[in-house]
């Protein structure tokens, strides 16, 4: 399959463990954040989003935490499964008059059976 990134930071976890993927964003004015998952050979797939007026949001097996003080975003995946193996990207809306998201460089999650 297609290699999304050859020099990505990699997180390796055991199946069934919880995973935490971190992201530092750059602009304190950003007010909207998204996590995407990208499997080999596919485009990024939306996982969960959060607005800056929230600290935490939960989805199915996933939780996003936002710490505006230190400009940090994290994605927690509960009971990680082999199908969770992918590259994960955070994205922020850096509202400088531009109407588009800005993406981080990604983290590769490897789930060991």
């Amino acid at each position: 399959g297609e290699s999304v990134g050859l020099h990505l930071p990699t997180l390796s976890v055991q199946e069934g463990d919880n995973s935490i993927i971190n992201c530092a964003y750059s602009n304190s004015a950003s007010d909207y954040f998204i996590w995407y998952k990208q499997e080999s050979g596919k485009g990024p797939q939306f996982i969960i989003d959060i607005r800056s007026n929230m600290d935490k949001r939960q989805g199915q097996r996933v939780t996003v935490l936002l710490n505006k003080t230190v400009k940090h975003l994290s994605l927690q995946i509960a009971a990680t499964q082999p199908g969770d193996s992918a590259v994960y990207f955070c994205a922020e809306n850096k509202w400088t008059g531009r109407r588009a998201l800005t993406f981080g460089s990604g983290t590769r999650l490897q789930v060991q059976p």
Partner: protein
């Protein structure tokens, strides 16, 4: 279900050729985007469009142009392809430009020789 279709999965072109990358969405979204994805660099915005015949430059527009003649179709044009434009190109669309998820196609892997 949301569908963004990129016409080619793989393309090989020669330096100096004019290249067209086509993208079609079936969700009646106003906003469409072109990103390129390179190892270690994540996704970088080339151009986006928030309405038919409207376009805005992203972070790396040099060497590219776009066309949005119909709402569902957004084309990326490489006027004179160069080897440094070898990359994965991802098209996306969204209902809202600033918040709300982008829906991505599966990408076009372009190689310029």
């Amino acid at each position: 279900d949301v569908k963004v279709t990129q016409s080619s999965r793989y393309l090989v072109k020669r330096t100096g050729e004019k290249v067209f990358l086509e993208c079609v969405q079936d969700m009646d979204h106003e906003n469409m985007f072109w990103y390129r994805q390179d190892p270690g660099l994540g996704l970088r915005l080339i151009y986006f469009s928030y309405d038919v015949k409207m376009k805005e430059k992203g972070d790396i527009p040099e060497g590219y142009s776009v066309s949005r003649e119909k709402k569902e179709r957004f084309s990326l044009i490489l006027e004179s392809a160069s080897t440094n434009q070898t990359s994965m190109y991802l098209c996306a669309s969204s209902l809202r430009p600033r918040t709300g998820p982008l829906h991505f196609g599966n990408g076009t892997r372009l190689t310029v020789t």
